[in-house]
């Protein structure tokens, strides 16, 4: 099964998104949140080593989809992926998607049996959803 890693600059924002997803998919999808610096979670920022640990923690046969908030969350996630062993690295994708809508769409897709690519597509398609 595919797992989701939420990466935000804010630990509380990442945890909030995880809470929202868990409520939606009722524990059918493993969601991990990572935000702030591991060394001091009150500091706003992203920590490649903490992201790497989160990926390894939830890695399953289906792979891991990462959904990020802003700019350096992407850079840190890319750095984290680079530090993974090759066979694991190939099973991790960063979605080019908004944090809440993208991770929500991916979670729904995964809970109905979607693959890593399906989850990524669902997350990325959420960019085109009009809210109003």
């Amino acid at each position: 099964m595919v797992s989701i890693v939420i990466v935000s600059h804010s630990k509380r924002l990442a945890e909030g998104v995880k809470e929202l997803l868990n409520q939606t998919v009722k524990g059918n999808v493993i969601v991990e949140s990572v935000g702030g610096l591991a060394i001091d979670p009150k500091v706003i920022g992203t920590d490649p080593l903490a992201i790497k640990r989160a990926i390894l923690h939830v890695m399953d046969s289906g792979g891991v989809l990462i959904v990020c908030d802003l700019g350096s969350a992407i850079i840190s996630s890319k750095a984290a992926i680079k530090m993974l062993p090759k066979e694991i690295r190939e099973k991790v994708i960063i979605a080019d998607a908004p944090l809440v809508e993208g991770s929500f769409a991916a979670a729904v897709e995964i809970s109905s049996g979607g693959s890593l690519n399906d989850a990524r597509n669902a997350a990325e398609d959420s960019k085109n959803l009009r809210k109003v």
Binding site: L37, I44, D47, P48, S72, I75
Partner: protein, 220 residues
Amino acid sequence: MDLTKTLDTSDFIEIICRVSLVMEENEEYLTDLDAAIGDADHGINMNRGFKSVVEQLKKTDPDSDVGDVLMTTGTVLMEMVGGAAGPLYGMMFTGMASAASDKKEVNNADLAAIFIEGLKAVQDIGGGTMPGDKTMVDTLYPAVQEFNKSHDTTCAGLINVLERALMAADQGLKSTIPLIAKKGRASYLGERAVGHQDPGATSAYLIIKVIYDFARGKGE
């Protein structure tokens, strides 16, 4: 200075310690540059990051090689710096480490390889960052090209190439002033970033200057 071995592990530790001092001296300057087009934390981040690196390097095993020093530097920066500078400089130094593993001293050609790997890591992680994007690559890229051109492996050659690299970095740094940013937070500003020197390009310049000053001091 010995002509066959240019910089050893303790030299690299000394260089990183000096980078830390320079980041402390320039904390306000870098933060002011960042206040204009970013989130006003670059100087604070770089100072805090390198201070932690120096603390960690104090515990360095005497048997360490240059790759270990660079790896520690990169890893601590990733852990301690929350902004984009953390992963970018972190990957730069760990990239550099990959070109220096098992080397207790590096010559001119090794130093070139170290810089090339460091630049490659930054460009790669930034999503193919090129000069003109208003980032640290604007100073690193032209500096590294000077290493690519140089085949003189003597000590004088090292200082010469570092001097040319520093001049190229300086030009690259100034070239960021009129640019519209294509990467990072400043890219949200569009035209409003024009007229401001890039903070990341500035800290990258400061690092190159420390290396040049160190090599020149050692060569005398």
